[in-house]
């Protein structure tokens, strides 16, 4: 019945129809409900069953553990004595409005641009719309979410021509916008406030006292490795649980939606740099230098950034070799920013944006190497 209803109004949205302009909207709804009827017009006459909707929805599915844990953790951080269900309900109260706002504002921007620029409504927003809330602290004012989402989608993506053409990850652009535009209102990774309760995040704690040791500082604030691995710590909604992110990573790797080269590269870069820093730490009063790699891995949004942000295919390197270097750069930069730059305790976001900017340059070198190899074999 739904099918016949859609078919009956189709001609009004097609060229010459009454609502011709809104065809992208019709198309989005039509192909959302039913698989498209487009057939091949040329060789190859058959195609794989995968499409962009499937790929994108798989990224969202991979985020589910992080979303669920994040919602629970909002309540847990507020009052750890409540039951799991109560914590979850408490968390929903904070998380749902943020998610709704992000999808609504982003969806409107996406559809508006699709109509004006006459391109299709791209499924990429399914992912961006969920990533943005997960990078937000739960106490963020909703209007800020709206402004940031609009900024991320328009400046981060649409002005470049839409999904596939953007240079920077739209969700990270939104996050960075908030980070720099409202530094006093949004505490982000620094402090966690729900109902006026403020707690320093582990990253801030580890960097808090000059001349001390990061692990001592962490244990003095009662942050254990296990606690940070499982995610019972303050932080942005989706980033706290490394375990939840790793479950998502496993899903993305098994389904081959995310590229393993970026993840391995990023981890290697982080391990390499933090080990070097550990050797240097006796010569410095900076407590962050002594932080071992496995702590870097579970603190802040390292795992979250690695699994969901760095692997975003459009803004990463487009060559397999380049993906290694791209990952390495993020890993190295993360540790450098975290340890050496006192203004930004969390380095992952900036490191990924930095690597986004360098991805085309990395590819350029990979191409030059390929070209040189071709010239040499004569």
């Amino acid at each position: 019945m739904l099918r016949s209803l859609l078919d009956s109004v189709k001609d009004q949205f097609e060229k010459g129809g009454k609502y011709e302009k809104f065809y992208p909207l019709y198309d989005a709804l039509d192909t959302f409900l039913y698989t498209p009827s487009t057939v091949t017009t040329n060789a190859p006459h058959i195609r794989d069953s995968i499409d962009l909707k499937r790929s994108m929805i798989f990224v969202v599915i991979a985020m589910v553990p992080a979303i669920l844990f994040g919602i629970f953790n909002i309540g847990y951080q507020d009052d750890s004595t409540r039951t799991i269900a109560d914590n979850f309900v408490f968390g929903l109260y904070y998380a749902v409005p943020i998610i709704v706002i992000s999808y609504a504002v982003g969806g409107i921007c996406e559809v508006l641009f699709a109509i004006i620029r006459k391109h299709e409504v791209n499924e990429g927003f399914l992912v961006t719309g969920m990533l943005i809330p997960l990078t937000m602290p739960p106490d963020i004012p909703l209007w800020m979410v709206a402004v940031a989402t609009a900024f991320g989608v328009i400046i981060g993506k649409e002005i470049f021509g839409g999904t596939g053409y953007n240079i920077f990850n739209p969700a990270l652009t939104a996050r960075a916008f908030i980070y720099f535009a409202y530094p006093s209102e949004i505490s982000g990774d620094l402090v966690w406030t729900v109902d006026g309760v403020s707690t320093a995040t582990p990253l801030l704690q580890a960097a808090s006292t000059q001349g001390s040791d990061s692990l001592t500082l962490l244990s003095s604030a009662n942050y254990s490795f296990e606690q940070m691995f499982f995610g019972f710590i303050p932080g942005s909604i989706g980033e706290t649980s490394t375990l939840a992110c790793l479950i998502g990573a496993g899903f993305l790797l098994v389904t081959k939606v995310a590229n393993w080269r970026v993840m391995i590269g990023m981890t290697s870069g982080m391990v390499f740099t933090s080990i070097i820093f550990m050797f240097l730490s006796p010569y410095s009063t900076n407590p962050m230098l002594s932080l071992p790699p496995h702590y870097h891995f579970v603190m802040g949004s390292f795992a979250f950034g690695m699994v969901f942000m760095a692997t975003e295919p459009v803004t990463a390197s487009h060559t397999n070799k380049g993906r290694w270097y791209y990952g390495l750069i993020i890993g190295i930069m993360t540790v450098i920013i975290r340890s050496i730059n006192p203004a930004y305790p969390e380095g992952v976001m900036l490191a990924i944006l930095f690597a986004n900017a360098f991805a085309p340059l990395i590819d350029y070198f990979v191409l030059q190497e390929n070209i040189k190899r071709r010239l040499l074999r004569k």
Partner: protein, 453 residues
């Protein structure tokens, strides 16, 4: 002997594979040639309606080299000639009288005698008899230029495309002489000491090892390992300004047979496949046979698409057309497959995919029903890296495609366009989640390049 193992690629398990029996259908009444579809030539008609023709009578030739003849494969009468847009020579229809008379008798040679023939004489025999047209060159896949010698000659002795002709059906020990004759002839006309043969490890190694003037390569791996372009790339890649000749294994045998016997080989063995066919099989046909004489099933023509060539690279055809000049395969594909509610959300046990995004992936050893649906919507390129997984070339497809779209000739050349042929990129299009027509873009790039050169 070299062994080359190719890891990247994909064998798509499709329903309706052909059986290994050969049905004789070489008494077809109607032969149709489609000259305008032969890439790289400008056909000039040399016959007219109602002409009586024999096997070997010239029908048309290439304007740029009039010595390259395309000849009739049967004796009979020209029934119809159809000119298309801008007077393109779309169709020559011949009615076969089944008398099999030959236009001209050619001298027969033993394989050992080939070397003593004058090179130009041999070239002229091949050109006049229509056999030269089967020798093609890369880059650009057009008929070989007899004035410019290649740096190597390649023959792929197996096909890896879905349901492609099983070349093991083409030869036994009796064919050794013909094959050796063909090889010697290729060496003679190209001025080379040996030609490159590629076989799969499951082929008769002793048979191929006993041949002379051959550099034998064993190439293992999934499709497109059988594509000659991939083998050239792995063994002796084409650099700027170089050319390589290649010929289908079956056509090489035909040239050998022709030189041995003096008789033009007017038949070929092809595979016919597809799940809608009652009996997908191999059959022996006259070259250019009209498809309705080959596929006799009662097909629903709206619900099925007939493809001349393989399902990944062939062209859309119909039962009234002849099989295309270089094709040795016809497949029937179910057309459209209906619309499914929330298909992107379903587990998809019945949907074939090379990615791991449908649960069908856990079912092994099954063949699948694939239809002409693109299974998605056209989107911009999102580089998930799926293309690279099925492309065994040292070429960076993302950037090659971008340079072609930007029509940047120099960059295309740098990124290795000369080593590419659209058929090698068919799998990239197949696996692409954005349904991006990689194959078409590569073809466009080659056309741009050819104009430029």
């Amino acid at each position: 002997m070299n062994v080359i193992n190719i890891n990247k690629g994909l064998d798509i398990p499709i329903n309706g594979a052909p059986s290994n029996t050969i049905e004789d259908m070489s008494n077809s009444i109607t032969i149709i040639l489609h000259p305008s579809k032969i890439s790289g030539i400008k056909p000039k008609l040399t016959c007219k309606i109602d002409d009586e023709v024999k096997i070997g009578t010239e029908l048309f030739h290439d304007k740029s080299d009039p010595t390259i003849s395309f000849v009739s494969n049967c004796s009979g009468k020209i029934k119809n000639i159809v000119l298309g847009e801008r007077r393109a020579l779309d169709e020559i229809k011949i009615e076969n009288d089944n008398l099999n008379t030959q236009f001209k008798e050619y001298k027969s040679y033993k394989s050992s005698e080939i070397n003593s023939i004058n090179k130009d004489t041999l070239v002229n025999i091949l050109k006049e008899s229509g056999n030269w047209t089967y020798i093609r060159q890369r880059p650009f896949s057009k008929i070989a230029d007899s004035k410019k010698m290649p740096k190597a000659v390649f023959v792929s002795c197996f096909n890896s495309a879905p349901h492609a002709l099983n070349t093991n059906l083409l030869f036994d020990n009796n064919k050794k002489n013909a094959l050796q004759t063909g090889i010697n002839a290729l060496c003679k006309i190209s001025g080379l000491n040996y030609i490159n043969l590629s076989i799969r490890s499951n082929q008769d190694l002793n048979f191929f090892n006993s041949l002379y003037n051959v550099n034998l390569n064993i190439v293992n791996g999934p499709h497109p390992a059988g594509n000659v372009g991939i083998q050239i790339h792995k063994i002796n890649p084409i650099n700027v300004g170089e050319s390589i000749w290649y010929i289908d294994f079956q056509d090489l045998l035909a040239i050998g047979d022709f030189l041995n016997s003096g008789k033009i080989i007017n038949t070929k063995i092809i595979s016919i496949s597809g799940e809608q066919l009652v009996n997908p099989t191999h059959c022996k046909i006259l070259k250019g046979t009209v498809i309705k004489n080959i596929i006799k099933d009662d097909l629903d023509l709206i619900k099925s698409r007939i493809v001349s060539g393989n399902i990944l690279t062939g062209s859309i055809s119909n039962i009234e057309r002849g099989i295309e000049y270089y094709d040795s395969q016809i497949c029937v594909v179910p057309n459209n497959g209906g619309r499914h509610f929330l298909g992107w959300l379903m587990p998809g046990f019945d949907k074939y995919t090379n990615s791991n995004t449908y649960l069908s992936k856990i079912i092994k050893n099954k063949t699948w029903s694939l239809n002409t649906l693109i299974n998605g919507s056209y989107r911009t390129i999102i580089p998930f890296g799926y293309w690279e997984d099925v492309l065994p070339l040292d070429v960076i497809p993302q950037y090659l495609v971008k340079s072609i779209l930007a029509e940047d000739i120099e960059e295309m050349e740098n990124l290795g366009i000369y080593e590419c042929h659209e058929e090698d990129f068919a799998l990239c299009t197949f696996v692409c989640q954005s349904k991006f027509p990689v194959q078409e873009v590569i073809k466009k790039g080659l056309m741009l390049m050819e104009k430029e050169v």
